[in-house]
């Protein structure tokens, strides 16, 4: 069970969160084309390397956040138990 670095809760079991998907910017809905819009809807980068993802802390703080994960090795850029970052503490 992967530990996910929730920026609000701290490290949490991945079962407590939902991976929403790759972080994509949404085309302007009033000016987009079918090709552009459907690329936004369906296409994925899906790399076996680093990718920016949106996560939802479903059972914890209820917050959506963006983080980077290596999909080949299944680890985070800011590993939850890596070097400490005092600024992450929100109390």
């Amino acid at each position: 069970m992967l530990l996910v670095p929730c920026p609000h809760c701290g490290p949490r079991n991945s079962a407590d969160l939902t991976l929403v998907g790759e972080s994509e910017s949404r085309p302007d809905p009033s000016a987009t084309t079918p090709v552009e819009w459907r690329a936004y809807l369906y296409e994925e980068h899906n790399p076996a390397g680093w990718t920016r993802e949106t996560w939802y802390c479903r059972l914890g703080c209820g917050r959506f956040f963006v983080t980077e994960r290596h999909r080949g090795q299944n680890r985070f850029r800011n590993p939850p138990l890596g070097a400490p970052d005092e600024s992450a503490r929100r109390r």
């Binding site: 479903r58 917050r63 929100r90 109390r91």
Partner: protein
Amino acid sequence: MPISIPKASASVSEQVEFASPLAGAGEASGGGWRLSDESATSKLLVYESFEPDGEAEWHLGVGFGAATTAGDGSLVCGVRPGEWLLLGGSPPSAPDMSGVVTVDMTHGLGMFRLAGPAATDVLAAVCSIDTTEAMFPDGAVCGASVARVACTLVRNDVAGERSYLILSQRSSGRYLFDAVRDAGVR
């Protein structure tokens, strides 16, 4: 300072009997643990002000992940970033803050207390949160799955005794109470 949560609250009508989601379950106990229904406690959800200056936090005294007892006796729990649940107190005491959104959750949440020296062991059968002293001290608040129900878990020791408040959506309350009680029976 341990608190006891008064059951009366303004949103609970005096003429009409309040039906607890745990009605029929009520109380239970086993070796070193007790469960008691506290669903009738008033529960007020308070959001931080739309002006992002941390004013609500300043007024309420705690941030996300912690609980403290307010002057009126209510337990102020930082349940999410920018969201507090005020348990008890009479009347539900939104601090004097205009422009903050509040929602009365008294009826929407079931709440019971798991107390006793074995309470932590019972919880470990149904919840993956690390409840060792350093990681979940008295006054700690977190969201967690308890027996696969999304809950808010508050460490709220009474007179020095280990004690947890477990809050869930009302409709799951009876299932959850039974599941935790069963976990205590080995």
